[in-house]
């Protein structure tokens, strides 16, 4: 029984997924440390503890993410773009556009029905539109970033920001809190601002259905719904796996194909 592993070393979190018998056999997520190889080792350890597999059971492994070249124990490294595309289309064969939002970047990836990459665009220069934007706002709101979606559900009058820049938006949130705007309206405004910024990327790539979102931020229903509204079509939710694991899943699938 062959086990294949994928490792995604991101700036904020490191993820691992194993494929066993052509199915997802287990996964792990940890907070990234300053050294990618240490993060990869730590997540491997967690994976082993949680799945009970032996390190030597892994037949082939692939690394992705910004720290991939530094992981010593993998067999090969593949770009995040390819891995997110691979993972998303395996989970959702009808996926043609993948919007991946990571801790410090965001990407829009277009694939054809065979999984061939058609076009992609990334932003890793501006914090706006990345997980970082939500982290900063959640901190000001004194809530966990995972609560932004839920709290916003009750909103009737979302706030609007004067600018998309994370720094100015942060100052705006403070002003809104001080003027006692309801938390749900502020959270809804934050989610919308995020979606608006992402739409700047999607605008330049002409999205095609089915559209899905990957990366940690995909778990925020508020952002997903707001973006769906802007794009004028429902964004398909990923249910088979935590969307944050998509890169690692794709890497594991590539590992499976390598033999």
């Amino acid at each position: 029984m062959s086990i294949f592993a994928g490792f995604d070393v991101g700036s904020l979190t490191t993820k691992a997924v194993i494929i066993k018998n052509k199915k997802i056999g287990g996964s792990a997520i940890i907070k990234s440390g300053p050294k990618p190889v240490e993060s990869a080792n730590k997540v491997l350890e967690k994976l082993i503890n949680e799945t009970g597999i032996n390190k030597n059971d892994i037949k082939y492994s692939i690394g992705t993410g910004y720290g991939r070249e530094k992981i010593t124990f993998i067999n090969d490294a593949i770009s995040e773009i390819s891995c997110h595309g691979k993972g998303a289309q395996w989970v959702l064969p009808s996926a043609r556009t993948i919007i991946d939002i990571g801790g410090q970047d965001c990407k829009v990836i277009k694939l054809d029905k065979n999984g061939t990459l058609i076009k992609f665009i990334t932003n890793d220069k501006c914090a706006s539109g990345t997980g970082r934007f939500l982290d900063v706002m959640a901190k000001v709101m004194n809530i966990d970033v995972s609560e932004l979606g839920k709290i916003s559900e009750k909103s009737t009058k979302p706030i609007t920001f004067s600018s998309m820049c994370t720094v100015w938006a942060q100052a705006d949130v403070i002003k809104f809190i001080n003027s006692r705007r309801p938390a749900e309206d502020i959270c809804a405004g934050i989610n919308s601002a995020m979606a608006n910024r992402l739409s700047m990327l999607t605008n330049s790539i002409k999205v095609e259905k089915d559209i899905c979102m990957t990366g940690g931020v995909a778990k925020n229903k508020g952002v997903v719904n707001a973006l769906g509204k802007i794009l004028g079509c429902r964004i398909k939710r990923i249910k088979k796996i935590d969307p944050q694991l998509m890169g690692a899943l794709g890497a594991a699938l590539f590992a499976q194909e390598s033999i």
């Binding site: 501006c126 914090a127 600018s163 998309m164 820049c165 720094v167």
Partner: protein, 256 residues
Amino acid sequence: MITAGCDIGSRTAKAVIFENNKIISSAIIPAKLDPIESSETVMKLVLEKANLKFSDIGKIIGTGYGQQEIPFAHHLESEIVCHAKGAWWNIPSARMIIDIGGQDSKAIKLDEKGNVTRYTYNDKCASGTGRFLEIMADALQVDLDEMGGIGKTFKEELNISSQCVIFAETEVVSLISEEKNVADILNALHKSLANRVASLARSLSIEKDVVMTGGVAKNIGVFDALADGIDVPIRSLDGIDPQINGALGAAIIAST
């Protein structure tokens, strides 16, 4: 006629009283939450300093991002025009003004009469604005006013690769944990800010004399790095706080 200029910025409010082609008094205060309060407070202060009353002022021109809220302004004028006028009055050979304020940066080209011919600005991204310095001063726990001087004592040439203030702050936190020298980090930050603004200026094509205005001009690290960035010497206003340049320009326009 005695005139006044009132520049309500995002972080500070400035006022200048002008008569017979001379600055009578000037004032700078931190901006209040309410721009109306900012304008009233700074005008009160500048009048006190000049030993004058409101009724002594013949004409007041307002400028700055909060200009609409100045209750006593007779007219309003754009910051672009005011900065050009103020700097040109002080340095008639000025053909380009680079202004870095609390929340924006501008590059302005002017003709020999001090009239604006072209301009460009950034008020969307915190990078290249005074806010960048405020955030970094916090991160490094140094006084905003001392950043420039400390940065000049740098020994190791570091590099901050991120333009985004948020990502740059993360880099700074890393550098601090790597026990890098504060002076070295500051120098790198000043270069980063200057480069961002230099790009803005270069999009208009640089023309001497270049004058730097706005509060950030008081940071010698940024000032020098900006001159390096555009590869042209920069002049500072002669005997005038660069931060009051907008209000000065407004007061001069009021007098014409």
